[in-house]
Symmetry: D2
Subunit: 255 residues, 4 copies
C-alpha cells in the first residue's frame, strides 16, 4: 500500500515516466494531465490511475532505471548500461568499500548505495562543491544519502582511505589519479575508469600498465528495439557512444 | 594472506586466467608451467609468483569475471555484459527475492548469490536434473550454494513462490511461463527475459503486453579494445551476438 | 568553370549542403543567407563564395552523396551505406542490365544510372504511379533520366525482361517476387533484397533457398565520428538501423 | 557457355568458394573432392556439377565478392564493405581518373578496374616493388591489369598526375601525403583515406582541414546473419573492426 512520503513512479507511456515523492498536499502534473497525490495514498503498486484528462497511468515501485530518470543532472551522466557493467566489474557486494571520483550527478554513487545496502562503505570525491551538493540532493531525495560519504577533494593528490576494495574514476584526466588509486586499494583490488575518447583510453592504460595486471578495455553499446506485432526491429535512431571502460587489478609488481 | 581452501585466481596473461581452490596437496598446471599450491599459502593477493618454467604469474582475489571463467558449462552461458545488465534491471538488492528459470550453468544464479549477499532469497528452477546438479556443483565450488534454492520443476506449469520481487527467464519458450511469472510476482515486480532470436522477442512481447507495463527490449554489445601504445583500437574479431533482453513490470491492469 | 544549367553543390557547413541547378534568374536561399545564382557563373569548383550575410560557402561538384541529399523523398530512402553495398553486391558495371522494384524515391535507380554510365540497361518497376513520377523528376533534375526505363507494373506477377544480370528488390513482400526474379535473371545472376525486419529476412530466405545458391544476409551499420582536435570520438547519437540485405545467385538446381 | 580460359567460381558451400581459371589440362581440388576442369567446358553458369566424392557443387560467374576471395594477399586487405563504400565516396564512374596509394594487394585497384570499365584512368602507387608485383599478378589473373597503371613511387613526395577526380590513401601516414593529393586533385575532387586507428584519424583530419571542405569520418560495420528456419539471428562471432574512413573535397580556400 502506498503511503505518504513514499517514492513512486507514475508511468504514463514509454516517454513519460516520472519519479515522485508522495505528498498529499501536492499535485503531480504532466502534459497528459494531472492527479492530486492524495489520490495515490492507499493504492497498491501496479494499480491503474486516471489523470485529469481521463488518460490512464500506472503507479509503480521505483527501480534503478527510475533512479536514473529521476536524477537532477547538472552534468552528463553515465547511462544505465555503463553503470550496470561498472557495478559488475567493481564486484562490490554488501560489506565492500568503494571510492569514486568525481561524484558528478551522483548516479553511480547512488546506484552503489542502492545495490550494496547499508553495510557497505561508499566514498565519493569531487573537486566541485556545487556539483556535489546537487548529487547529495539527489541521494537525499532517494533516501540513500546516509549510505554515502561525500568528500570535497582532489583524488589526483590523495585518496585518504586505504584498504579499499575498488576505485572508480569518471574524470577528465584519470591517469593523474592512478597512483592515488593504487595506494588506496587493497592488494588485488579493482580500478575501473570511464572515459569518452580513445586518447584518454591510451593515456589511462599507459599509466596503469606498470602497477596493475589484467588491464583491459571495452565499450558497451545498447541497441533498443521497437516492440510491435509483426514489426519488431531495432529503433532507427539511438545512442551510439557514451564512453570506454578500462579495468585493472592492483598487483604488487613493484614489491 | 592466502590460506588453505581459499579461492584464488592465477593470472598468467589475458588468455590464461584460472580460478582454483588452494589445496596444499595439489599442483596447479598450465601450458606455461606449474606451481605447487602449497607455495601459494601465506602469499598476499596481488603478489607475483613463478611457475616451474620461470614464467611469471600473479595470485589474485576472485571477481565476478573470474566466477564466469571458472564455471563448468554444460550449456551455453550468459555473458558478463548480459548478466550485469540483467542484475541491474532486476533491481535486486540485499533482502530481495528472485526466481529464475532455467538454471543453466548457474551463472546468473551464482552471480545473484554473490551480489545479493546472505539476506536474499534466490530460487532457481530447471526441468533437467543433470543441468541443475552441475550448476549446484559450480555454486558449491564458489561457496555460494547455501544462498540458493535449487528446484526441479517446470515454471510453465507453476512457480510455487509468491510475492517475489523479480523473475528472470532464460528458456526456449518464455511466453509459456509469463503467466506463472505474473502470478508469482509482487505488484510492480520485474520480469526480465533473455532470448537469442527476434521471433522469440516478438512472442514474449505479445504474451506480456496485456499483463505488464513498461515493456521494452534491447540488445547489449560489447566491443573489446586492443591496448597497445600508439595502436589502441577495437579488436578485429569479437562477439557480435548473444541475445536480446526484454523487460516489463507487473501491472494490475486486469483487476 | 561553372555555367548556366550546371548542377552544383553549395556547401555552407556539415548540416547545410544544397544541390542546386544554376539558373541566373534565380536566387539560392538558406537560413544563413542568400546568393544570386548569376554570381556562381564563371566560378571554379571548390571556390569560396560569400552569402548575403557575409557567411562563407563553397561551390562544389556533385557527388553521389549530394544526389542523396538532393532527392525529393515521398518515401523512406535507402542510405548511402546500403546503396553502396548493394551496388557492389549486384556487381553491375558498364554494359550490365539490372531490374529493380520498387522504384521508391529512385535513389538506387539514379545511383545506378550515375555509376553504370550510358551503356547499361536499368529498368525500375513500381506499382504506384505517383511514386514513380516523383522518382522520374529526381532523375530528370540530375540529368540521368534517359539512362533509366521506368515501368508501372507488379513484379510479383512478372518481370518482362529476361537474361538480366542482377535484380534488386526493396518492397514489403519480396518473397512473392522471388520467382519472377529467377525467371528474369541470366544463369548465375544476382538477386539482392533489402528489408527492414528479421521476419522478412526469414521469409525471403525461405523463398530463395531452393532456387538460389550462396544465399547470405548481413546488416551494415555506419558509425559517424566527431572530428575535433583532441576530441575525436563517435557521435553520441546516430542511425542504428536501416535494414537487412539478403543476397543469392541464381542456380540451375531444378534443371 | 563456359569455355577454356574463363574465370569461374566453384561454389561448394558458404566456406568453400573458389575462383579458378578454366584450364582443360588441370584439375580443381578441394577437401571435398576434385573435378577435372575439362568437365566444366560447355556447362552453363549456375549449373550443378559433381565432385569426385559425389559432393555437389555449382559453377558460377565471378562477382566482386569472388574477386575478393580470389586474391593472393601478401598484406591485410580492405573488406568488401569498405571497398564498396570507398568506391561510392570516390564517386568515380566510367571515364573518371583516380589515383591510389598504396597498392597493397590491389583489391581496391582491381575493384575500380572492374566497376569503372575501360574508359577510366586508374593509377596505383606503392613504395614496395614486391607488393606491387603481387597485386599486378592478381590483376592479370582477373584480366583487368590493362586498365591499371602501376607506379613504383612515394606519394608523400609527389603524385605525378594532375587534374585527378579522386585520390584514395591506404597507408600508415596519410597525413604526409595530403598535400600531394591536394596538388593532384582537380578542384572539388574527393580525397578518401582509410586508417585503422583513431590517432591516425585525428592526424589525417588535422592535415586536411585547411585544404579540404566537407571533411567527415565514419566507420562501417557489417553484421552477418545466420539463415536458418525459425532461427534467423546474427552470427555469434564476427569482424568488429577494420578501419575508419575519412572523406574531404578539395577547396580553393587558400586561393
Amino acid at each position: 500500500m502506498i503511503k505518504e512520503g513514499d517514492l513512486v513512479v507514475i508511468w504514463i507511456d514509454s516517454r513519460r515516466i516520472y519519479l515522485v515523492k508522495v505528498d498529499p498536499q501536492k499535485r503531480f502534473s504532466s502534459d497528459r494531465g494531472y492527479v492530486d497525490m492524495s489520490n495515490l495514498i492507499g493504492k497498491e503498486y501496479g494499480e491503474r490511475i486516471s489523470l485529469s484528462t481521463g488518460r490512464e497511468a500506472f503507479v509503480l515501485k521505483p527501480t534503478p532505471f527510475d533512479i536514473y530518470r529521476g536524477l537532477k543532472r547538472p552534468t552528463q551522466v553515465l547511462y544505465p548500461k555503463d553503470v550496470a557493467y561498472i557495478l559488475y566489474m567493481i564486484g562490490a557486494k554488501p560489506g565492500s568499500s568503494v571510492v569514486e571520483a568525481g561524484t558528478g550527478s551522483g548516479f553511480l554513487t547512488i546506484s552503489m548505495a542502492y545495490f550494496l545496502g547499508e553495510s557497505s562503505k561508499i566514498i565519493t570525491y569531487d573537486v566541485r562543491d556545487d556539483t556535489q551538493r546537487s548529487a547529495k540532493k539527489n541521494a537525499d531525495f532517494l533516501g540513500l544519502a546516509d549510505r554515502i560519504i561525500f568528500k570535497l577533494g582532489d583524488v589526483r593528490e590523495k585518496i585518504e582511505e586505504t584498504d579499499i576494495d575498488a576505485v572508480f574514476f569518471d574524470m577528465p584526466d584519470p591517469w593523474n589519479a592512478v597512483k592515488s588509486a593504487y595506494d588506496s586499494l587493497s592488494p588485488s583490488g579493482s580500478l575501473v575508469v570511464f572515459v569518452p575518447t580513445i586518447i584518454q583510453v591510451e593515456k589511462t592504460f599507459m599509466s596503469m600498465r606498470d602497477l596493475f595486471v589484467d588491464v583491459h578495455a571495452e565499450e558497451l553499446m545498447s541497441r533498443e528495439y521497437q516492440l510491435k506485432e509483426n514489426a519488431v526491429r531495432p529503433k532507427s535512431i539511438g545512442v551510439w557512444h557514451t564512453g570506454y571502460i578500462i579495468y585493472g587489478r592492483k598487483s604488487l609488481k613493484g614489491n
